[in-house]
Subunit: 374 residues, 2 copies
Amino acid sequence: MSEEFYVTPWEVRGKVDYRKLLEKFGAKELDVDVVNRLGSMAGEVHYLIRRGFFYAHRDFDKILEVAGRGLPWALYTGRGPSGPVHIGHLVPWILAKWFVDRFGVELFFQMTDDEKFLDDEEATLKETNGYAYENSLDLIALGFPQDKLHIIIDTEDIGVLYKIALKVAKKLTWSAVRATFGFSDSTNTGLIFFPSLQIAVAFLPTELRGETVHVLIPAAIDQDPYFRLARDIAETLGYPKPATLYSRFISSLRGESKMSASVAESAIYTTDDERSIRVKIMNAFTGGQPTAELQRKFGGNPDICPVYEYHKLFDPNDKNIGEIYENCRGGHILCGECKALLFDKIKSFLKIHVEAREKARDKIHMYRLSAKLR
Amino acid sequence: MSEEFYVTPWEVRGKVDYRKLLEKFGAKELDVDVVNRLGSMAGEVHYLIRRGFFYAHRDFDKILEVAGRGLPWALYTGRGPSGPVHIGHLVPWILAKWFVDRFGVELFFQMTDDEKFLDDEEATLKETNGYAYENSLDLIALGFPQDKLHIIIDTEDIGVLYKIALKVAKKLTWSAVRATFGFSDSTNTGLIFFPSLQIAVAFLPTELRGETVHVLIPAAIDQDPYFRLARDIAETLGYPKPATLYSRFISSLRGESKMSASVAESAIYTTDDERSIRVKIMNAFTGGQPTAELQRKFGGNPDICPVYEYHKLFDPNDKNIGEIYENCRGGHILCGECKALLFDKIKSFLKIHVEAREKARDKIHMYRLSAKLR
């Protein structure tokens, strides 16, 4: 990995060079052909792909081929429930929802409350399991049909995954996971086993259906090590290689490469009150000039600005986005005005979201895979 | 470890020096005081303890103290279902049954079909899981009351153990399990996690009862590494340190230190037919002289003789055992006669056992812990 940045599933440091990261990992950039093919099949290209937020993949073109031939496929993604959900977490879920709606496929969603317990010295199982439930509310709130979203909470639903995970674990040696994840002598044996559980879900749809079900995994690029290993062993275990669709990280409001759920000011939580959200947005780092006068004279730099990035993530309207970009570049809008616009968008989004989230509270069990299999 | 013998949970090589092994592991030999105390509490000392087959322990005296004070305690032992059960496997289960009867305690019994799958390149989950069921028949056949025997089949009952295992795994680093079990770079990540599952059962009674339940583990001495680790971490996790009672290995009929389930001639399976049992016993290695004439003149050596050992394991009558010993030493009995005596004993034992085993076939679910917890 380059010395300027460092990316693992547990840590992102420095200014990420997404091209270099792809080279390092060996995944492919999304090209025009595959994006156009998606557009012609789905009737549109989702704005998160169109705007390059999802920018790379492994075999996404094969999934489109599978879909075109009417063969079964499913989506898989997940979340490490280490705290409340921030709006950045919702972004890939929004794309997953789009795939569910456009292609009628099912989404298997893994809450890794085991991993988050194992990874944090201070965490208790009660806490991470509690967050698994709380975070499920945010997922359900996005409007998934009950029969299309299957939530797996690792510590409670291990029975669904364990036999598959054993087959995976038998193929993964210590030296393989050490090399892939940078494990050391002091890594605990729970974390050493965990990759097999994250990989197991990629093979679960095939086990459940009793026939080959291809799987597409939309995820942030830091999750690639898991799925690289999954692809290495899939076929020897009789499963199709999972395909992936990778996003960039969402910048923190303070300008770092990745939002951190553990630094409260760097992210907007879905459970934040309006006042906190306003304060966080108003205090955000921007690509603007130090003074209003300089901004009007030289314009700002939206390409490095998290406020602009958030506009792109939460406003599907390309015209709005284009205007903000040009107005910033041309100095026609000040950062304060731009932040106020963003605040209104996030506020509207969260108003609907929070209502839906509360309504989901009594319905979580309806989305649990284990309950459906009983 | 001495160069003459080598003992791990997966392999026993060479002529085992049981004293040296204790020193190496750091467990204690059973002394007269603790054996007498057991006798006064139980009304007798079981012949497997009296004859030194169970010869060592960790904190067995504390279990007697707990029992004496009327505090809750339970038994835990298990089996790696890698094949059919041979009569050697029954020996510690016979002792466990005695504890259940004499002290009214419950036995938690773990079938590690996961470990046996992970440990053997050729094994399939279907095979090891099938043996878990088959081996359960042999266990139930010994006559455990349904409310005192709780069988856990790892691959199916993982949900009962997983949260406890996670707490254990978080405390066990790679360097700890590598040092304890001799793991290497090529050890698979399933086996690396597995010790946490074997340890978890030691803490399960306390979790289930919601109060401190002490645990006594009767097991072969090669299992000590697991329980040493369990004892190291028990108290930081809020559980009592498990106590252990260790047996020697049962010699193979060919004279090696340990019977092997994978060498058919070395062991008598509970499912063997009478003819095979006769052939195996008649072909057994003995401590006798090369000819009848020399045997009558010099006598045999029962102390190195597996046939004599099997008499001791399956005949509770001390007078019989004493006579065999003296008659062998004095040259009054030939190996063929002694083998015929043993064959009769094993035949009688297995006649009852096999009947009970078949009757157990429809009742396994009644003994499954997961079914009881549902």
